[in-house]
């Protein structure tokens, strides 16, 4: 991978029906534009993985793209509920959503194990919680050296991970900074990785704490300025907190949500085919 490709091509080539897909970004750098492209192309039966489903998965769930969700905190930060997520779990609208709930520590470690291509990760966690009843993803192991009983979480290895970053260089290497969350682990855990970036530069600037991902671990890079909106990209945009607050009313009601999706070219295609990407879609 060296030169950037249009986002629609990257999604068409690398995200398939039934895939396990992780769109990561902890509040910052959430790849919204890529999620909207997935919706536009009408992907179905996805298993969505993400620590904080946020508005981005609320939208994909409401649009019927997902059958399963692996997550650790499914709220609208500082605002309240994710209403489309709740409607799917509580009322099976638009269809039933099976959820697998981790703690942040558990899911972060599951990605780390996945990145290391280990079958599971060890942590001191979950003890005494009912989350442990999900034995297919959370179990216990005994330390062979001390005998201490510890939590084990099954590795997460997405078919495809998608992230948003600030920069790519001419060779397609990628650089991100600020709150970098679990993106490095999620990219390295995946079979394929797609990155959307704010811009391409000749040379990366010096930056403390930046994460750099070499081009040879990435399947595609697409240039999508403001591709994290209403999340943000430090140095390029600020978080659109107003939209996060407005989302509460948009998403609370099914009709209003569908109208919003329609207005923004994201409505599920009633005849079943993929929706053609629109040139001037500003969500």
């Amino acid at each position: 991978m060296t030169s950037p490709v249009p986002l629609a091509d990257a999604i068409a080539a690398h995200v398939h029906d039934g895939d396990t897909v992780a769109l990561e970004g902890f509040t910052h750098l959430i790849p919204f534009a890529a999620a909207h492209e997935i919706a536009r192309q009408g992907r179905r039966h996805l298993t969505l993985v993400r620590m904080t489903p946020d508005l981005v998965y609320d939208q994909l769930i409401g649009l019927g793209c997902a059958d399963e969700l692996v997550f650790s905190y499914g709220g609208n930060p500082g605002v309240g509920s994710l209403h489309r997520l709740r409607d799917a779990v509580e009322n099976h609208w638009p269809h039933r959503l099976t959820v697998h709930e981790h703690s942040h520590a558990g899911l972060a470690n599951a990605y780390s194990a996945g990145a290391a291509r280990l079958p599971f990760a060890v942590l001191r966690g979950y003890h005494g919680t009912d989350l442990e009843e999900q034995r297919d993803i959370i179990s216990r192991v005994t330390c062979p050296f001390t005998g201490e009983e510890l939590a084990a979480v099954k590795a997460v290895n997405p078919d495809v991970t998608i992230i948003h970053a600030q920069l790519a260089d001419r060779d397609g290497n990628v650089m991100l900074w600020g709150i970098t969350g679990v993106q490095r682990e999620a990219v390295l855990a995946a079979e394929r990785a797609i990155v959307t970036v704010e811009e391409v530069v000749d040379e990366f600037p010096e930056r403390t704490g930046a994460v750099i991902l070499p081009n040879w671990v990435l399947a595609a890079v697409s240039v999508v300025p403001n591709g994290a909106w209403p999340s943000y990209a430090a140095g390029y945009s600020v978080r659109d907190n107003d939209f996060y607050q407005q989302w509460d009313a948009i998403s609370r009601d099914r009709e209003r949500f569908l109208a919003w999706a329609e207005e923004n070219g994201l409505a599920p295609d009633s005849v079943g085919g993929p929706v053609e990407p629109k040139e001037s879609t500003h969500v």
């Binding site: 605002v79 520590a105 990605y111 966690g125 989350l131 709150i179 430090a234």
Partner: protein, 250 residues
């Protein structure tokens, strides 16, 4: 004296429990307000850690989310989420963890996952987030939650984060557990023998009877109930500025 609400009192009482030098892990909602209030009033030297990775964050205005840019921009260090949970939270480097709850029982066990059956819930709540490991590993846990029989229940529908376990004696974790539960009525503390949450302090204008009525189990009441001093003008002004998201040099 300015006017104040029971919610103001709850946030102020929580803020007062933080001291200079405390390393405090801050979550969204009331904990965020209380921790930032402490920094702007009596405890400017308390260290705020956000699970998004910001260590020693000094936000100029109240962050809406725990991943606001202001947190990273003002932090001493920004670490990845796996590092945050493994090297900082899990390793026991947090003195105080603030948690909220949708349901809490008399032994401080917390539900933030579902109301009703797990697989067919009446209400799907946001979920565990960072809380299970904060509840286990922080030196002490302060729960901030409004008191009502719907929230203070005989049995939680799901244990997302453990307090002292089903009978108060099953806690097997590094930290001291929920040493304070701060509500809009007063303060509950675990009984030193049984770990049962006991009403020990009341906010001004609240009666023991009201606190008992707001609890879904027969609430244990301490022999000597302390009065919580009402919010000072300084505390109320700082709280108002935070709520208005006014910037200050921090």
């Amino acid at each position: 004296m300015s006017e104040w609400t029971s919610a103001d009192m709850m946030n102020v009482a929580a803020a007062r429990e933080l001291h200079d030098g405390d390393v405090c892990l801050v979550g969204v909602g009331p904990p965020n307000l209380a921790a930032n209030l402490a920094r702007r009033t009596h405890a400017p030297g308390c260290r705020l850690v956000y699970e998004s990775g910001a260590i020693d964050a000094r936000p100029k205005k109240l962050p809406l989310s725990i991943g606001d840019d202001d947190l990273a921009a003002t932090a001493t260090a920004v670490v990845s989420v796996p590092e945050m949970f493994n090297f900082w939270v899990g390793a026991g480097r947090i003195d105080v963890g603030f948690l909220g709850a949708a349901q809490i029982d008399r032994y401080g066990n917390i539900n933030t996952t579902v109301i009703g059956d797990h697989d067919n819930p009446k209400v799907r709540l946001p979920g565990a987030g960072g809380a299970p490991e904060i509840a286990a590993a922080a030196g002490r846990v302060i729960v901030i939650v409004k008191q009502s029989p719907r929230t203070f229940v005989e049995r939680v529908d799901f244990v997302s984060s453990v307090g002292y376990g089903p009978t108060g004696r099953e806690r097997m974790a590094r930290g001291a557990g929920p040493t304070l539960v701060i509500t809009d009525h007063g303060v509950l503390e675990p009984d030193p023998e049984t770990n049962e949450l006991t009403l020990t302090r009341l906010h001004q204008g609240v009666t023991v009877q009201q606190a008992v009525k707001a609890t879904g189990w027969p609430l244990k009441v301490a022999d000597d109930i302390e009065d919580v001093p009402p919010p000072s003008d300084e505390e109320l002004t700082a709280l108002q500025k935070l709520r208005n998201r006014e910037a200050v040099d921090a």
